[in-house]
């Protein structure tokens, strides 16, 4: 079921009314009427109180990407209020089911694909502008002057020397009709909040321990549930004995939670398990430890990381599905003066948000209440509907602050589990995943083997390019999945350098694997930027060209190309060149480096944003890495909150480096081997650069998001710098001890 976007141009987009406290409420008209009012007092975009406090509803989940700050900033600026007047309140999921198709009440509510800012840019500005228009209209009536003579500033209406706070106009404003169509929005030079750094809205709650995450939700009568899930991909329960578990003090119930059958699409929970339900977390964990279970190992019992590597090698020896084929690569190879080829490997990785999966669900009397850390609240509602049969309009979903998303919480399997346990017991359920649960049961970022080949003509120009990828598709057991489309999330056919090399071919080979896969921050861009930007570097060194100059030559003159994937519809070579040149300038590209020091560079276009990294690193003879400087540049269109963009680029860089240096999920005997942070060592502060310099391109283009752009180029900039420093080429992630091993061998 799809949900239509917010109809911005539709008549009656907003509805104004007075609240019980005498405030003015502006909320979308869509979805109103059936019950005579908004679904709950927070169900608003905007509420202006008589004391001139401005309450702005945050519609998207806050997963650390800063949207509880940046989205309200957009609205507040158009409303022309002081940011200090604003209080941000989290909106619940708002879908109106009364019409022929479900409608978003507050606009799209999700966190994924760096879409929150671009998706909100037009409609939140319009909400703010309409509210400001209403304030001006009320003031004009109060003062008996023409509307166009009334201006606003800092939450006040102004005329001549007179000024009135918005709060004093709300009663009158509530009686006025809203404009019938869109009203003009501010010119960029009038912005007072957009483009100026604003700190995180909830920072004080976070540092005092008052911020509420999903794991903190409880209510009287709630029981804690933990599940023992089958560790084998598509395995199940052969037999179990729960007598000892039930005997643990505090344990109240043991419930079998069936998972999807092998080959069945996964739309709710991920794996078969046994839930232990107890009075508190410790009793539930002790009860779970006391369960005796014998698992069936399922159809993938023979799967291992080594077997998957061998499968990739076999596949790459054959032919795959050609998904883009410009010119004639084979002819280019025939005519080439030089042909260069390399293979790369990118591992499975876990999302590992620091807040493990959890959900509060109460199924009762044909209704369900969900309070959970989710990236897709509508998906959580759908999952509960699927496992309980409760109609979607009887399932409420409240969003807590989320302790990290990274794509993991785009799926709501854990919400479905909590719903199943609540349905079986009748109790409100606080479901908790332990770190071990989270490490072993994920929708992991796909691994793959990439084979790249380039041909150079007599002038050293790249005349042909192929990328052949053997991977297990991210589209893992989705409903209605067509096999011929499985390549789509793996290779983005318009990524650089496609369209810039005359003979260009992309080929995909399907790896058969039982490990669940899904979206991991900047999905396939992490793998493809690594291999493309590494390979370009190799090509430059192989052909005696400068790595920066080769990239600039391939980008050529500034022009706009079609980009059919997410982040399109266009790709600007000039904007990519812009970020590349900025980091090159900042790092001092081309300067002579002392022995063991090297510069690396990389650029990539991710979901509408252009990013580049340049790094100056030192590699000791023992392989020890030292970051001298790490510079990144981001062009995500008009910067909404520069402080937040900087944070995303700093964090994205560190996520990219931590993952490239340390992280891999391995498989043995049809199950994941890693269990906790000892085997999956997220980087600590000491391992990371002490500073990440961020250059934000000042752009007048409509804003893109920035939650994912910082990651893809971090790994190749690092490995390119390693090559420059010591001549060791890293083609297999993670780095771990490869550098030390290679240097030991070569010495």
């Amino acid at each position: 079921m799809s949900v239509a976007g917010l109809p911005v141009t539709r008549r009656g987009f907003l509805q104004a009314s007075l609240t019980a406290s005498g405030g003015l409420l502006l909320a979308p008209a869509v979805g109103f009427g059936a019950e005579g009012g908004p679904p709950n007092p927070l169900g608003l975009y905007l509420r202006i109180e008589p004391d001139n406090r401005i309450h702005i509803g945050a519609r998207s989940p806050e997963i650390g990407q800063g949207v509880r700050t940046s989205l309200p900033m957009i609205l507040a600026d158009e409303l022309d209020v002081d940011w200090s007047q604003v209080t941000v309140e989290q909106l619940p999921l708002g879908i109106d089911f009364s019409g022929p198709t479900p409608q978003w009440r507050y606009g799209p509510q999700g966190a994924g694909g760096s879409t929150s800012i671009p998706g909100a840019w037009n409609d939140l500005r319009q909400v703010g502008a309409q509210a400001r228009w209403l304030m001006r209209a009320a003031a004009a009536q109060r003062w008996g002057v023409p509307l166009d003579e009334v201006t606003t500033a800092r939450g006040h209406a102004l005329h001549g020397g007179r000024r009135l706070p918005y709060g004093e106009l709300v009663a009158l404003a509530a009686t006025l009709a809203l404009p019938s169509g869109p009203v003009p929005v501010k010119k960029p030079e009038e912005y007072r909040i957009i483009g100026r750094p604003q700190p995180v809205t909830d920072a004080r709650e976070i540092v005092t321990g008052r911020a509420r995450y999903g794991i903190d939700v409880s209510e009287p009568g709630a029981h804690v549930a933990v599940l023992l899930r089958c560790p084998y991909f598509d395995g199940g329960i052969a037999r179990y004995d729960d007598r000892a578990a039930r005997a643990v003090p505090g344990v109240r119930a043991v419930v079998v939670v069936p998972g999807p059958k092998p080959d069945e699409p996964i739309a709710a929970n991920l794996a078969t398990g046994i839930a232990v339900v107890a009075d508190d977390t410790w009793s539930a964990l002790k009860g779970r430890r006391a369960l005796e279970v014998e698992w069936t190992r399922g159809p993938f019992a023979g799967e291992s990381s080594a077997a998957l590597d061998a499968q990739c090698a076999r596949l790459l020896a054959g032919r795959g599905q050609v998904v883009r084929d410009d010119g004639d690569f084979d002819a280019a190879r025939e005519a080439a003066t030089k042909v260069f080829s390399a293979r790369y490997r990118v591992p499975f990785v876990n999302h590992a948000p620091l807040e493990p999966q959890n959900a509060f669900v109460h199924v009762q009397d044909g209704r369900a209440r969900v309070v959970a850390p989710v990236q897709q609240p509508a998906g959580a509602q759908r999952a509960v509907h699927l496992v309980t049969g409760i109609p979607r309009d009887a399932i409420s979903v409240e969003m807590t602050r989320v302790g990290g998303g990274f794509g993991r919480r785009l799926t709501s399997d854990y919400v479905a589990e909590a719903a199943l346990v609540s349905k079986a017991t009748g109790w409100p359920i606080k479901l908790l995943w332990t770190r071990e649960d989270d490490m072993q049961h994920d929708f992991f970022r796909p691994f793959g083997h990439h084979e790249l080949t380039a041909t150079l003509d007599a002038d050293g120009r790249v005349s042909g390019w192929t990328q052949r990828l053997a991977s297990a598709s991210k589209h893992y057991r989705r409903p209605n999945q067509r096999p011929e489309d499985l390549w789509r999330p793996e290779l983005y056919p318009d990524d650089f350098p496609s369209g810039l090399v005359p003979n260009y071919r992309l080929e995909w080979l399907a790896v058969n694997s039982g490990i669940p896969r899904g979206s991991w921050r900047a999905p396939a861009h992490t793998a493809n930027a690594f291999v493309i930007q590494s390979f370009l570097d190799e090509l430059a060194h192989e052909s005696g060209q400068d790595p920066l100059a080769l990239r600039l030559a391939m980008l050529g003159e500034d022009r706009v190309l079609d980009y059919s994937g997410h982040g399109g519809p266009t790709f600007s070579t000039g904007r990519l060149r812009g970020v590349l040149e900025r980091v090159a300038d900042a790092i001092g590209w081309g300067r002579r480096m002392p022995a063991g020091r090297g510069l690396g560079i990389a650029c990539h276009f991710t979901f509408g944003g252009y990013a580049a990294h340049a790094m100056d690193i030192e590699v000791g003879r023992d392989g020890a890495l030292r970051f001298h400087r790490v510079v990144c540049a981001i062009d995500c269109g008009r910067p909404v909150n520069p402080l937040g963009i900087r944070a995303q680029m700093e964090g994205g860089t560190i996520d990219g480096l931590s993952t490239a240096l340390n992280l891999e999920i391995t498989i043995d005997g049809g199950r994941v081997r890693e269990t906790n942070f000892d085997g999956y060592p997220l980087a600590m502060l000491a391992q990371m650069p002490s500073d990440v310099e961020v250059i934000i391109v000042d752009s007048a283009e409509d804003p893109a998001g920035c939650g994912e752009m910082g990651i893809p180029t971090a790994a190749p900039a690092l490995t390119n710098a390693i090559f420059a420093a010591r001549g060791v080429r890293i083609r297999d992630l993670p780095l771990r001890s490869q550098l030390a091993d290679a240097l030991r061998k070569s010495s």
Binding site: I215, T281, G404, T434, R435, D678, L685
Partner: protein, 152 residues
Amino acid sequence: MGVRFHVNGSAREFDGDGEMPLLWYLRDHAGLTGTKYGCGRGLCGACTVLLDGQPLRSCVLPVSAAAGRSITTIEGLADGERLHPVQQAWLDEDVAQCGYCQAGQVLATVALLERNPEPGDADIESITNLCRCGTYVRIRRAIARAAKGMRK
């Protein structure tokens, strides 16, 4: 006979399972949810509290081992509405992204600055609390800012 200790200055007694990790006592029984669960094995530091001023990973300490001790959680760090200088430094440097690890980071820093008011890089790098969002750059700055502020 229960276990007696102080939490944020208040006397408490717990007569449940003494093997329960302090973390789950704080979260489930004392209602102090600012202390976070991250790994359950003392690896990530999200559950850091101060035990008689020393940083401690509460997910691996049985509550019985806290007998007679004084525990400070993130909720007990500020003096009413007046933030501890480390908390204030966290705001001034706009450190938090998702924020989940930050209570532990703040308490680890408080303990560091107690024993070493002028920490060098190596001292700062002795903090092993994990941040999945990668706020380390700003954590470094916030530690330096807090150290400076507390020396005044």
